[in-house]
């Protein structure tokens, strides 16, 4: 039993199922991170005083991380483009780079967190650190999820290229949409937490 429009697009909507599905999921993620952003704004506006992110957090390191994540977004879309050009080995290279960048992002994050913990600074320190750790932590979990998915499509899942190339390309596109969204959240998170 086949579900229609898993691979080919439905004529009147112009979409295949997973593409609509992932955009809807991303809409819900907008509401999730949006709620956290709203909470942050509410708490900060109500606070009698709030430290500048740049005074307490490592801006250069986070800038490097921003560059890493944006780069991974490029390599991700390039991996999809490679599949569209039917170049599987190029796809694997780009996808591998994406995964590497993702892991690098987490390592840098690990350094950041480690530096804070070693100074005895935990989320319970004050609201600034509570928001910092929670927002970047949840974002980090999303990065982990993305890396796992991407690894699956780089590794065992890539077998589908041989049997159903179009379906596999769709899956990589959809995984890419998720990954770009994770990058997008960081694009807003970075200035909010570190620069303001």
């Amino acid at each position: 039993m086949q579900i229609p429009f898993t691979v080919a697009a439905r004529p009147d909507t112009g979409l295949h199922n997973a593409k609509l599905g992932v955009w809807l999921f991303l809409a819900s993620e907008v509401m999730l991170f949006g709620a956290l952003f709203s909470s942050y704004i509410l708490l900060r506006v109500a606070a009698p005083e709030w430290p500048h992110g740049s005074a307490l957090l490592n801006v250069p390191l986070a800038t490097v991380n921003t560059i890493i994540l944006i780069s991974s977004s490029v390599t991700m879309v390039m991996s999809w483009a490679s599949l569209m050009l039917k170049d599987f080995s190029k796809y694997r290279r780009y996808m591998g780079l994406t995964i590497l960048c993702g892991l690098l992002f987490l390592v840098v994050k690990g350094f950041e967190y480690g530096a804070k913990f070693s100074h005895g600074i935990l989320p319970s320190e004050d609201l600034f650190y509570a928001t910092y750790f929670t927002l970047t932590g949840l974002h980090g979990l999303h990065v982990v999820g993305g890396i796992i998915v991407n690894f699956y499509f780089w590794g065992p899942g890539s077998r589908m290229w041989k049997t159903e190339p179009q379906r596999f390309t769709n899956r990589v596109e959809v995984a890419g949409l998720y990954w770009h969204f994770v990058d997008l959240v960081w694009i807003f998170l970075f200035p909010t937490l570190y620069l303001l």
Partner: protein, 99 residues
Amino acid sequence: MEHATPDAIKKHVRTYVIVFVSLMALTVVTVAISYLHLDVAAAVIVAMFIATIKGALVASYFMHLISEKRLIFMALVLTFIFFVALMALPLLGQHDTIG
């Protein structure tokens, strides 16, 4: 998208590179501006403005939103409206209290 030709894809790749360079540049800009230590209101507006441009670039070109179907766009507009409501109304509530 599925039936895009190799030439069309190559054009997309060129766009990706341009967007990548722009994103790098904007990242540098936003960090540089932060060193100017503007007052909070101005700093927020500038930072969010730049972030919005960067976000729009990622969404429009990496996520292909600029050529995406109306249905997707409408779902996102709806989401955005609710996000604004979630942000604005509690803030209003904080500001507008009795006593």
